[in-house]
Symmetry: C2
Subunit: 223 residues, 2 copies
């Protein structure tokens, strides 16, 4: 697989391609052109062909793309076939919701263990995931492969826990706390799920539309 430097925008579109291809597979569609795919995703055919061409030649002239084959290519590009291992830090509401509802396996991940500080849940299993004490975390990290740590701890714990994780060799954090962990110098990969950023963007668009409607109404009034 080519590994030229691929722009962030392209990478963020890959999961959307994957999802659409799964949808097509479900509907029994086995062949798709960049034109049709573009129509369904709101992208131009050009963009789609450019995106794919970063990674190889997956189509066939005059035919288009084979849906399952393309799906497999993208899954592989995303690393879904590498058997990445994840652990979860913090088994509060968000942690439990993720464990119950988010199918890590579907996306190529194995959630091997969860860690918490509350004695009453330490040693129990939650949806086939053992809950261990934070005290044994560094030992666990020295004995097991951990590719990603899912950070679902309370706000206050975010920074110290991150420090501890990076010091013990964890190279990637999926951050659900509303704390900015990304440090300019750090080698650690951080992917943020900032609920508030998402809601505030939506809020902006709602406000914008409200203003537009008010302006239209004011214009109509003047007539």
């Amino acid at each position: 697989m080519k590994r030229v430097k691929v722009s962030n925008n392209v990478i963020r579109r890959l999961p959307r391609y994957l999802r659409k291809l799964d949808e097509l597979t479900e509907s029994g569609v086995s062949r798709v052109s960049s034109f049709e795919l573009g129509k369904q995703l709101g992208f131009t055919p050009s963009q789609i062909r450019q995106d794919f061409s970063c990674f190889g030649e997956f189509g066939q002239q005059g035919y288009g793309y084979n849906v399952p084959a393309l799906r497999a290519e993208i899954a592989s590009i995303l690393g879904m076939d590498r058997g990445f291992h994840a652990i979860m830090i913090g088994v509060g509401n968000i942690g439990r919701a993720l464990t119950e509802n988010f199918n890590f396996g579907e996306w190529g991940f194995h959630l091997s263990a969860a860690f918490d500080v509350r004695p009453e849940i330490i040693g129990t299993m939650f949806h086939e995931v053992p809950i261990l004490s934070m005290d044994v975390l560094s030992q666990y990290l020295s004995e097991h492969r951990v590719d990603v740590a899912v950070l679902t701890v309370p706000k206050e714990a975010a920074v110290p826990v991150t420090k501890m994780l990076t010091e013990n060799g964890v190279g990637a954090i999926w951050n659900f706390t509303n704390v900015e962990l990304t440090e300019p110098n750090s080698q650690t990969l951080v992917e943020n799920v900032h609920f508030s950023d998402s809601l505030l963007s939506l809020s902006y668009f709602v406000a914008e539309r409200e203003d537009e409607r008010a302006a239209r109404a004011a214009r109509a009034e003047r007539l």
Copy 2:
């Protein structure tokens, strides 16, 4: 406030400015230059000044920006002072986690009610939010202002519930289901929180780094 067409990239940066300004306020910093703000956020000073200039003139030559004043401007641009009302559809794990942990009020929203189909929770309160039956949703919508619906229903319910919401005048959806709701023709604003997209992006970068390390190791081997 100016309302020229502002690019999506700018809008997505606004919440990050807000968060950083809150952080500065907490640290007692009351004045900041585009240079310093840029250093802390990893943006260029130029970009920051360009971004703000979409909405007005918030700084002062030779001085910089007043932190609380700038914070207030951005909050207002994002619509945080409009008292938007939200309702939640689906009080499962994700819904409960959001209600318990996400402070809607902090971001200018009021979560007025939640809706579910399970009789055992209908009529109860959850963290000061009344849980009502889905049967009374359309009536509720006709009687109350609802700016945003938080969609935390099971996958299967996502599309029919969305249809019902839009038909009853809900103009914006904060979508936590892993279903693509955005329809090209629709007027409805949809903001997606796609956990899987986020994890898969991270997965890509982890895989990329793994490959780079392997390549380095292979080169070292050959020497």
